[in-house]
């Protein structure tokens, strides 16, 4: 199986381990991912709140590039996904927007989670599980942008998405239900309004602990970064020590698949997941 891949900017930097784990997991599953040549910024963060034309034109170019190779387009980032889908809907929907790029909507835009848990792929995962994530209690954090708004994302269960939970169970872990699956982490206010960000992310961490989860699994570089890098800061403000490892779901897949490189990925986390994994005999 072959797909086009739109990595987005963070996979080059803060989310390198996400990129590497995606690459290796896909290789294990026999999926070829082809980075679309010459991709550009998706338009998230600034373009989409500043300039309507750019907010569509930027992702449109990426869509156009994907269509040229006639493959579906997979992206690992929730923000990229949302921009690409928005552009797709604006360009091909009823009120066709014209940004001068001929996008026809031939390539399906999929978030990597959606891609790996779609019919035809998800069935192959269990076969590759060599070291099941026994006794690992995981809460799944989908964030907001891969499911909402449903008319853009085409999500069927935008209030209670379950793909990640099912995947964790397939990997042998224990998926713990919690109510904050799609709650906002305040990511977009991380630099501009720290109070709100701290309150929102702090609530996620608190609820994960209340749910007696060992860790949080994410599927977005921004979510992971927000949850992972600020635990000390949020904790010290309220006098709590947070030490919740925050995984990318592909990292946990790699771990369950018994991929050697997994250890290397974990070293890039700020909250060190190694003690947890050791205590569960998972490494």
């Amino acid at each position: 199986m072959k797909v086009s891949f739109y990595p987005g900017c963070s996979l080059e930097g803060t989310a390198r381990e996400y990129g590497e784990s995606i690459e290796q997991v896909c290789e294990t599953l026999g999926i070829e991912i082809e980075e679309i040549p010459g991709w550009n910024c998706c338009g998230a963060s600034s373009a989409h709140c500043m300039d309507e034309f750019l907010s569509v034109a930027l992702p449109a170019r990426n869509l156009f590039l994907a269509e040229r190779v006639e493959q579906d387009l997979v992206t690992p980032c929730a923000a990229c996904f949302n921009r690409l889908k928005t552009a797709e809907k604006s360009l091909t929907g009823a009120s066709k927007m014209d940004v001068g790029i001929p996008v026809q909507g031939k390539s399906k835009v999929l978030h990597i989670l959606e891609f790996l848990t779609q019919e035809g792929v998800v069935e192959t995962i269990e076969k590759h599980v060599k070291s099941p994530l026994r006794n690992l209690k995981v809460v799944s954090y989908y964030g907001c942008l891969i499911v909402r708004p449903p008319r853009i994302t085409d999500a069927k269960h935008w209030e209670d998405p379950q793909a990640l939970d099912r995947l964790i169970a397939q990997l042998g872990g224990e998926s713990v239900f919690w109510p904050y699956k799609t709650e906002c982490c305040g990511g977009s206010l991380v630099l501009t309004n720290v109070d709100i960000f701290r309150r929102l992310t702090g609530r996620l961490l608190d609820m994960a602990k209340d749910a007696e989860a060992d860790c949080i699994v994410t599927c977005c570089p921004l979510c992971q970064t927000n949850l992972d890098t600020r635990q000390q800061e949020i904790g010290s403000a309220v006098g709590i020590t947070y030490d919740l490892p925050i995984f990318y779901f592909t990292e946990l897949m790699g771990l369950a698949f018994g991929l050697q490189a997994a250890g290397k990925w974990f070293r890039r986390h700020l909250v060190d997941p190694i003690p947890l994994l050791r205590s569960k005999n998972l490494i």
Partner: protein, 1487 residues
């Protein structure tokens, strides 16, 4: 009514069929059925569940009267159940339809109930033994029920049903057809004895097959889709071993002994099985066995480490204990031929000699010393012989025999015994677990290798030449064919070679001349079902028929042959009815948690290869039970057959099959009801994840006394008492994102009711209701809502809730909302109830398809507002929630209305298909000593939870004249009624006392019962120990019990004086009076006329039309004036309708069936008197002329009706109006007029849309308190919002203010969304003013009709009798009843027609009974009675004494109590009876 045309179609056709099909047995279907059956039509009531009752039966209480839902529906259920013109088809659905209105042929599919309705007594003994538990859907899945169940205690039909989807895959795949799911379920319940007996019904070798079975059942097990199958074989072994370990070995019962002898040839599994079942059938059975021991291949072929010989013996001995004789060393052959057997007196013979001839390899060297065929080897070893094979042993073959040989060789000391197999592991037929065990024991299997020749030296094996193979295309067996690889030969040194490549049958003993059918493979051919050979009396089965196969196949063959032999000997057709009819269940397990299979322990490898000890160990009891409980109950009913044994009435019949009926009916009424909307639509509320988030239906069941917690309010997570309970409204309603745009109409009220009742159960509960608009639009609803808020302290918060968050530890729930100050508040609750909406029932789409009727986009039945019960197909009508979401009274109105339409087109055939009830003659009890029977009712826990019923029963026994006392869970249930009848006859009771609920609802039922038992119905007395005792003294149980005893003592005291009363028959005047010529009156008049009755339509005004004259278009777009014209034309031209205009009613006398009404009409006020049998009051209502908001002082201020007229008449051009303000609730929902006028919201929306249509730029403001666009009207509210109509809410405390100024009108109002006052300057101010009843005071007092405090007429019962007056023969409809839109008035008018027809369709009525009688001797003509009678009945006759016409006497007793001379006695309430009661009350309880 619209069907004059339809009717004329029948003129030349055959008369229509006088029967109606009602689809759906909820309250709507029940009402339609009763109306139709009571007006002369036969009714088929088709219900897809096992019982009627529908949703209403599931509810706890009903609003706004807080009646117990079950208590008020129960008498109706019973009435349907006992009605001899209603046939209930339960578990049934409509499959197809042919024909047309008047003459339909409907095919109905009826699921098997597996319980014979006519035999079931409803005792419930079957459910007590049923091992299978499934979620109880009646209790909203909160608790479990058994697979055999009654939907609820009062269910009609009062019979159990078995929930069986079909044959479970395990049973279907068992060659012996064992009830696998059944015995697994029984093991799970620790019913080992029963489990073993169940296995033996199909397999007499449980211990053997618990070990040496190929268990195809496990391969078919649904659990394979989750993880691993149930360890079925090991479970069988467990119970078999358990059975043999018991000291008392139970033998199954043997049928009556029979003289016929049956011979069986061969004591293998087939022969033993046939012998067992023939012996059980009573036959004398002898088995002839060639070898010295019985058991066949099980004895000689299977090694001991798999099947210990003592186990084999136990199973065989068990069979012998039934009297089966086994003659060993007695082969069939020259010494003993088949004819000899017949000559010895055997009447039938079963051949089962097996297949024991080994198949040869056919290669060079096969005759060498050291080559021994597998089966020969095993046979020798099992016979105790020593066969040394040497160290190197090549076993050839891939079947179980090869594995048995190689493992035996190892146990016999061979160092290297290995297997040569020509295909790969995948094709290997040997059981996987056997192969694994062999490998564990060190056996090497060489795949894709075949022998070419056996090498020998001096005739003794020294080696084997092998050839490598590869796999080609699949062959006939479906396995890939091995193809030799050229030049791949190699040689292996071996000491011996054991070919084990199959066996064949040796049929040489069969006498040639008989004409046997021998197959190409050398097996004997028999009938595949009956196992009969071509020779009469000779049957055959097992390996000799199938070729080498399994033990369990042979067992199955033996059993089937035994059945055939018994049939043969009894002269019954061999094959009839032996084909399986039930489908095999296919289940896709969803959401089933993994639960690993328990594997039996095995002997350690080093240990086990030393000898022949059994390798596999059995399960412990604990493990066996746990393993059995892994079963997913695929078929639901497990066919454990426990119910069959438990049922003393022999009502259980597991062989029932689906039935297809074709019924001829003239018309059809659809009332399939609704399903509650799936709460999972709103995933953000965590339903399913959070145990304490429940649906309102679940809460109804929790509130219910018969519910999962017996009426104690508990929350599911920890069964604690919740205090902070929240309701979230509009879950699955008014929700565009999930395709549920409509309002479900009932949720605001039921949530309010649930909150009130919850507080009544437990006053510490603090209810909070989160809502968008409170829609309390029904009669008495707003007052109810206000009482909830003000008296019960229910907190109402106007906020739509976006999410529920559970606190993981406490399982409490957090809800964030915005309070009235605009602050976000997060509040914690113990329990959250989701007010789930109404969706069309899951099956209604299919129903519509089958009947070819149209649905709307939501799946509700498509109807037109002017013909609200007419579906798209003539002759098919609809009512209830299938038409649109609605509550009970509206459903009942529509149900009656649909019945009216359905019967109108059949009125010619009225009475053609009904049968009359025939009662037994009344027993003359005059002169008998009173023999009183007392029946004390528990009423579930309604009474029993407070009053000590057994103590009351005991006490009643001590009372004088009481000869029989009993207590019942529900005295009103059909089974108890049947029991009561029996007891009356058996004990010769002549007075009956029931201590239960209210005579108001239940007395007629009990009276009918005793009448059926031959007693006059007045020999009955009731003690109300529920409404007047247990309900009002809930907290004082002891005192309540004492009071119940007092009440029973009083009833018994009165009962001894009861006398039979005679009733008389009077003819009915088949004419109707309809008062009021508006829409309702005209529709009612037309309906009755079309039913064939004469109608007087009396109108106060000079012309007909009423409010219709002021209406021009409906919100749906119907043209009202056109409708009015067509109605007028039909009414005025109908020969049976006489219209009297400009008329006033001046006097009124009479009683149901025979009324007399005096009317003055015309300018001259001419008087005439009309005689009629029924009266329909449709006096209507009108728009209130406001006194507020400067109405009347400014021509720019008008009412909605005025606006509508002005727009229609083009006096106002909306195109030039820029700003319009509409104020809602003008004159409604205020202290002086506390009710909601129901129509004003939709009228405002209608007119706002009209303005927007003409002028999209106009600003239309609607100032409202709650928008009450209930049901499908919500669409128009959404449309108005989309069109830009601006809705601004106001509170009663902050009403808008209207002023006239220089700049025109100014309307200022506080906008709670903006939290500031806004001022508008409309060009038009439209007041949505209240609907008030027309002046009806005089009419009400003349006709003695009750009214509400708002002066609308009051129906007999707000829930169940919405169009009946308390006075019989009097009905009401339309605005006279309460404010309502046109479509609902039309429904109600039709309903009144239907109700009237139940009376008019009869020729006579029965009167008398409880009436006053005058003792002429004592009467002094003082006129007291004449003066006090509220009905003006008594008069002084020519003899100078008072006369009271018993037909007109209402039995109120006023005269009897006032008569100074004690000359008047009210029958059934005579002085001596009342005095006895009073005396008994004052005579304190002895104890």
């Amino acid at each position: 009514m619209n069907s004059n045309e339809t009717k004329s179609n029948f003129k030349s056709d055959p008369p229509p069929v006088g029967a109606v099909m009602v689809v759906g047995g909820g309250i709507g279907g029940i009402q339609s059925s009763l109306d139709l059956a009571n007006s002369g039509f036969r009714v088929y009531l088709v219900e897809e569940d096992s019982a009627i009752g529908g949703r209403m039966a599931q509810l706890d209480k009903t609003f706004p009267t807080n009646d117990c839902s079950m208590c008020i529906i129960s008498p109706k259920l019973v009435e349907v159940g006992r009605h001899n013109n209603i046939e209930i088809l339960s578990y049934a659905s409509v499959d197809g339809i042919e024909g047309e209105a008047g003459n339909f042929r409907v095919t109905v599919k009826q699921k098997p109930r597996f319980i014979e309705l006519d035999k079931c007594t409803g005792c419930g003994d079957c459910a007590k033994v049923c091992p299978v538990e499934v979620a109880n859907e009646f209790d909203a899945d909160l608790i479990n029920r058994r697979a055999v169940y009654k939907r609820y205690p009062q269910a009609i039909p009062n019979a159990f049903a078995i929930d069986k989807l079909g044959i479970s895959p395990c049973k279907a795949h068992c060659p012996a057809g064992i009830h696998v799911q059944g015995y697994v379920a029984l093991i799970g319940q620790k019913k080992f004895k029963e489990a073993l007996a169940l296995i033996r019904k199909n397999n007499p070798l449980p211990a053997i097959c618990g070990r040496a079975c190929t268990h195809p059942c496990e391969g078919a097990c649904t659990r394979n889709q989750v993880e691993d199958p149930i360890a079925i074989m090991s479970l069988k072994r467990f119970v078999a071993d358990w059975g043999y370990a018991q000291e008392e070995l139970d033998l199954p019962p043997i049928d009556e002994k029979r003289e016929e002898k049956v011979a069986i040839v061969g004591a293998g599994p087939a022969g033993l099985s046939a012998a067992f079942y023939l012996a059980l059938a009573g036959y004398q059975v002898a088995i002839f066995e060639a070898l010295p021991e019985p058991g066949g291949m099980m004895m000689w072929g299977i090694p001991e480490y798999r099947l210990p010989r003592e186990v084999l013996k136990k199973d065989i001995e068990y069979i012998q204990r039934l009297g089966v004789e086994i003659k060993t060393n007695t082969p069939l052959g020259p010494e003993l031929s088949l004819d000899d057997l017949f000559n010895q007196g055997f009447k039938a013979i079963f051949l089962s000699v097996g297949a024991k001839k080994s198949v040869k390899l056919g290669i060079e060297g096969e005759d060498s010393e050291g080559v021994i065929h597998g089966l020969d080897y095993l046979r020798a070893i099992n016979a105790g012989k020593e066969i040394p094979l040497g160290d190197q042993v090549a076993v050839i073959g891939g079947g179980n025999v090869a594995i048995d040989v190689v493992r035996t060789a190892i146990r016999r000391g061979s160092k290297n015994a290995f297997i040569i197999y020509r295909r790969s592991r995948e094709e290997m037929p040997a059981l996987e677990e056997e192969v694994i065990e062999a490998e564990e024991e060190g056996v090497k299997i060489h795949y894709l290798v075949a022998p070419k020749r056996i090498l020998n030296r001096d005739g003794k094996v020294i080696g084997i030449e092998l050839l490598r193979m590869e796999l080609g295309e699949p062959d006939a067996s479906g396995r890939r064919r091995p193809i030799p690889i050229e030049g791949s030969e190699f040689i292996v040194e071996v000491d011996s070679v054991v070919p084990a490549i199959g066996q064949s049958t040796d049929l040489s003993f069969l006498p040639k001349e008989k004409g046997w059918n021998i197959s190409q493979g050398g097996t004997l051919e028999v009938d595949p079902v009956t196992y009969a050979t071509g020779i009469p009396g000779v049957f055959a089965g097992g390996d000799m028929v199938t070729g080498p196969a399994t033990v369990v196949e042979a067992v199955g063959a033996g059993r089937e042959a035994a059945i055939s032999i018994a049939r043969y000997l009894q002269g019954i057709d061999l094959s009839e009815g032996r084909e399986g009819k039930l489908p095999v269940v296919e289940v896709t397990p969803e959401g089933v948690a993994k639960n690993p299979r328990h594997s039996p322990a095995k002997l350690d490898v080093q240990e086990r290869i030393r000898d022949f000890r059994e390798v596999q160990q059995g399960f412990s009891e604990e493990v066996a039970v746990a393993e059995a409980q892994r079963c997913l109950n695929c078929g639901i009913c497990s066919e454990c057959l426990q119910c069959v044994e438990a049922c003393l009435a022999h009502a259980v019949n597991h062989e029932m099959v689906e039935k297809h009926l074709t019924l001829s009916v003239g018309s059809i009424v659809l009332s399939p009801g609704f399903d509650v909307t799936d709460p999972l639509l709103r995933e953000e509320y965590g339903y399913g994840h959070y145990p304490n988030v429940i649906t309102s239906l679940e809460f109804e069941r929790i509130l219910s006394a018969t519910g999962p917690y017996q009426g104690h309010i508990r929350r599911p997570s920890d069964l604690s008492d919740p205090e902070r309970v929240a309701w979230i409204q509009c879950v699955g309603s008014r929700d565009e994102s999930h395709g549920k745009d409509y309002c479900s109409s009932v949720c605001c009220m039921y949530a309010t009711k649930e909150a009130i009742i919850a507080r009544e159960h437990n006053s510490t509960i603090k209810p909070t209701i989160f809502f968008i608009d409170i829609r309390a639009h029904g009669k008495g609803f707003d007052q109810y809502y206000e009482r909830a808020r003000d008296v019960y302290h229910v907190r109402y918060i106007r906020c739509q809730i976006s999410k529920i968050v559970e606190k993981p530890r406490s399982k409490n729930l957090l809800i964030a909302y915005i309070d009235e100050t605009g602050k976000v508040v997060e509040e914690e609750f113990d329990l959250v109830v989701l007010s789930v909406g109404i969706s069309p029932s899951k099956t209604s789409r299919q129903l519509a398809e089958n009947l070819e009727i149209e649905l709307n986009s939501y799946g509700f039945c498509q109807t037109d507002p002017l013909t609200p019960m007419q579906t798209s197909r003539p002759g098919i009508y609809v009512c209830g929630a299938f038409q649109s979401p609605k509550d009970i009274p509206e459903t009942i109105s529509q149900a009656s209305g649909a019945a009216a339409f359905a019967s109108e087109i059949l009125s010619k055939s009225r009475g053609s298909l009904v049968c009359q009830e025939v009662f037994p003659p009344e027993r003359d009890v005059q002169g008998e000593e009173p023999r009183i029977g007392v029946f004390v009712c528990h009423c579930g826990i309604n009474i029993g939870g407070v009053v000590d019923v057994p103590a009351v029963k005991e006490y009643a026994q001590t009372l004088p004249h009481v000869v029989y006392v009993d207590e019942n869970l529900y005295t009103c249930s059909q089974d108890t009624q049947a029991k009561m009848k029996e007891v009356i006859t058996e004990k010769q009771l002549n007075r009956i006392v029931v201590a239960s609920c209210s005579p108001r609802t239940h007395e007629p039922l009990f009276q009918a019962t005793i009448r059926e038992a031959g007693l006059n119905k007045y020999l009955f007395e009731m003690a109300n120990i529920r409404d007047q005792c247990s309900w009002v003294h809930m907290d004082r149980k002891e005192e309540a019990t004492r009071k119940a005893k007092d009440l029973v003592r009083m009833a018994v005291a009165k009962a001894q004086f009861l006398e039979p009363l005679k009733e008389q028959e009077l003819t009915i005047t088949k004419r109707a009076l309809v008062v009021g010529g508006g829409a309702s009156g005209m529709v009612a008049a037309l309906g009755l006329a079309s039913q064939g009755f004469e109608v007087f339509l009396v109108e106060k005004e000079k012309e007909l039309g009423g409010n219709l004259r002021n209406l021009y278009y409906t919100i749906h777009g119907n043209e009202v004036q056109e409708y009015l014209r067509s109605l007028l034309e039909k009414v005025q031209n109908h020969p049976s309708i006489q219209v009297i205009l400009d008329a006033v009613i001046v006097d009124f006398t009479g009683f149901k069936g025979n009324f007399k009404t005096g009317i003055m009409s015309g300018p001259a006020m001419a008087y005439r008197q009309i005689e009629h049998g029924v009266s329909i009051i449709a006096t209507g209502g009108e728009e209130y002329k406001p006194e507020e908001y400067l109405y009347g002082q400014d021509e720019r201020i008008m009412t909605q009706q005025e606006l509508e007229g002005k727009i229609f008449r083009q006096e106002i051009n909306p195109g030039i109006v820029d700003e319009v303000v509409m104020i809602q609730c003008v004159g409604s929902r205020i202290p002086e007029r506390p009710y909601c006028s129901r129509v004003c919201c939709s009228t405002a929306i209608k007119n706002a849309l009209k303005i927007k249509e003409k002028n999209p730029h106009a600003n239309v403001f609607i100032l409202y308190r709650d928008i009450r666009s209930y049901g499908l009207l919500e669409d128009y509210y959404a449309r108005a919002r989309k069109a830009g109509v601006i809705f601004v809410r106001y509170d009663l405390t902050n009403k808008p203010e209207v002023t006239q100024g220089k700049e025109g009108l100014a309307v200022s109002v506080y906008d709670p969304a903006l939290r500031e006052k806004i001022t508008l300057h409309p060009q038009l101010l439209v007041l949505s003013s209240a609907i008030i009843p027309r002046e009806n005071n005089e009419l009400a007092s003349l006709m003695k009709l009750q009214r509400t405090s708002d002066s609308f007429f009051l129906e007999a019962h707000m829930k169940l009798r919405p169009v009946d007056f308390a006075t019989e023969g009097m009905y009401l409809c339309g605005l006279a009843h309460s404010p309502k839109p046109l479509d609902e008035s039309i429904s109600q008018a039709a309903a009144a027609v239907s109700r009237a027809c139940t009376l008019l369709s009869h020729d006579t009525i029965t009167v008398g009974g409880v009436v006053a009688r005058v003792d002429e001797e004592k009467c002094s003509a003082c006129l007291t009675c004449v003066r006090v009678c509220p009905y003006d009945v008594p008069f002084i006759d020519e003899k100078g004494v008072a006369q009271i016409d018993s037909a007109r006497c209402q039995g109120c007793g006023s005269c009897a109590s006032e008569c100074p001379g004690k000359a008047i006695q009210l029958q059934h309430f005579k002085d001596e009876e009342i005095i006895a009661k009073a005396t008994a009350l004052l005579k304190k309880e002895a104890a």
